[in-house]
């Protein structure tokens, strides 16, 4: 009897386990990418020493560094985090810390000077880091990752190691320094190793390794984002609204919306890669009989109202000019600028603000 009871119990337990496994296996999961920090700051050496050759690759260190940063930028996933681009030796801000936009990051990297004299251009890695901290980093919310692009030189001002130790003491777990190293001599390599050794959170990669796809992918994963599997649960449906009244609907309007045409930061010229999209819009317009188009410029709510109004006006005009070049009758086009006054999307979210930065072509 006991044997029979044990056997039955064992079968019951096995059934429970199998049910649990089946249930877990049957659940749908998806991969969620989350940024490792709220703010990522590239801190790039722009001093005279960067004009020396980088032995492992053809070209000087500055050209190699820029090339690698552009490649890395192309591989970054679209992260919900803020990114900035600063240089030292001399100190420069090529992109204020702001939401990630791939094209704008590429513009910032390309803007870093790569032809300059060597002599008299010292390397104040520590001193400019103090300035970056005082003027920009200290005002940031959330976690901060600083990616230093360095050849291991620092020859004026406070020592970078001391500055970084002070920043670790001040920010605690909120900050981590990572390194893309173009160091070549024993002293240069030693400095980078010393800086990376201050905190075990640091990730370091040698520049020539960053060119290798798998090494770059690993570096990006270790510095920029984590992945986790989440179980997809059906969304809880909100209380249904009363069904709309059944009655004749208003006459429909036609509108073409671009919330994905990006402009150079703070500029209104249309970037070349969007030409085909706008040409398609021009085709849709010219296919209509007697088309009338109102080109509306809109922005999100970041920045002063009058600045946004001017920016939306310039962008609407840029699109209108393009349409004229694509044989849309200039007499048939009007432009209107709304700045931040007519949001269609929720300005409380990053996605909503991105959608509000749009140009609408209303066809009449």
């Amino acid at each position: 009897m006991w044997k029979s009871l044990c056997r039955t119990s064992l079968l019951f337990i096995c059934a429970l386990v199998l049910f649990g496994v089946q249930n877990a296996v049957g659940q749908e999961t998806r991969t969620v990418i989350e940024p490792r920090a709220d703010n990522f700051i590239f801190y790039v050496d722009n001093s005279g020493s960067m004009m020396f050759d980088y032995r492992a690759k053809d070209g000087d260190k500055m050209a190699v560094a820029k090339d690698l940063l552009l490649t890395l930028n192309e591989d970054l996933p679209e992260l919900d985090a803020d990114f900035g681009v600063f240089t030292y030796g001399p100190f420069g801000v090529y992109r204020p810390v702001s939401p990630y936009e791939r094209a704008d990051m590429a513009r910032a990297f390309r803007s870093i000077p790569d032809e300059f004299g060597i002599f008299g251009r010292r390397t104040p890695m520590g001193g400019d880091l103090v300035r970056a901290d005082n003027e920009y980093i200290s005002g940031l919310q959330g976690d901060i990752a600083v990616i230093a692009v360095t050849d291991g030189e620092s020859n004026i001002g406070p020592r970078p190691g001391e500055v970084m130790r002070d920043m670790y003491a001040h920010y605690g777990d909120r900050i981590c320094f990572h390194f893309i190293s173009l160091a070549q001599t024993e002293i240069e390599v030693g400095l980078v190793e010393d800086l990376a050794g201050i905190n075990p959170c640091s990730v370091t990669i040698q520049a020539e390794d960053l060119q290798k796809d798998f090494a770059r992918a690993d570096f990006i994963r270790e510095v920029f984002y984590t992945e986790r599997q989440v179980v997809v649960t059906p969304p809880v449906e909100p209380e249904p609204l009363p069904a709309p009244r059944v009655e004749p609907e208003p006459e429909p309007e036609e509108v073409i919306i671009f919330s994905n045409v990006q402009f150079e930061f703070d500029r209104a010229e249309i970037l070349p890669q969007y030409a085909e999209m706008l040409s398609e819009a021009a085709r849709l317009i010219t296919d209509r009989e007697d088309p009338m188009v109102i080109v509306e410029g809109h922005t999100c709510n970041i920045g002063p109202a009058d600045y946004n109004m001017g920016l939306s006006e310039r962008r609407a005009q840029a699109v209108a000019d393009f349409l004229v070049e694509q044989n849309v009758d200039s007499e048939a086009i009007e432009t209107e600028a709304y700045g931040l006054t007519q949001p269609r999307f929720d300005n409380d979210t990053r996605e909503g603000r991105a959608l509000n930065r749009r140009v609408e072509l209303r066809l009449e």
Partner: protein, 132 residues
């Protein structure tokens, strides 16, 4: 403003020709477009789970917008440009619904009626295996 610098090589017949609906890129863009509809519906400033409430004179107006996924139409077209070899065009119907009331509590209760209907076209380019 010259915009022809990215265009090379194809014949007039090849350029601008829409892809067959069975083409993998058309299927890929259809998936993207459906997700885009979800993104829009989750981010309208007035939506069923976050109604927009405004006062107009002495009345209160509750409103929301909704892109209709059932109305979605898509088309993928080959271009002449190497950097953006394909463009995707999606078209859908967006409606704005409003309900009036004498106070902020009564306005959201409905009934709602359609006060605006738009046929919306959005255009995307295919770049590095993504629709942008």
């Amino acid at each position: 403003m010259c915009m022809h610098f990215c265009c090379v090589g194809s014949t007039a017949a090849e350029e601008n020709s829409p892809l067959d609906p069975d083409h993998y890129l058309h299927v890929h863009f259809s998936d993207f477009a459906r997700q885009r509809i979800d993104l829009l519906n989750n981010n309208y400033s007035g939506r069923p789970d976050k109604l927009l409430l405004e006062q107009r004179g002495e009345a209160y107006v509750s409103s929301y917008r909704r892109a209709d996924p059932e109305s979605l139409e898509v088309l993928v077209r080959k271009t002449r440009c190497e950097t953006s070899p394909f463009i995707g065009v999606m078209r859908f119907t967006k409606r704005t619904f409003e309900s009036n009331g004498g106070c902020p509590e009564s306005a959201p209760l409905g009934p709602y009626h359609v006060i605006r209907k738009q046929y919306v076209t959005e255009i995307f380019r295919y770049d590095q295996n993504q629709w942008r």
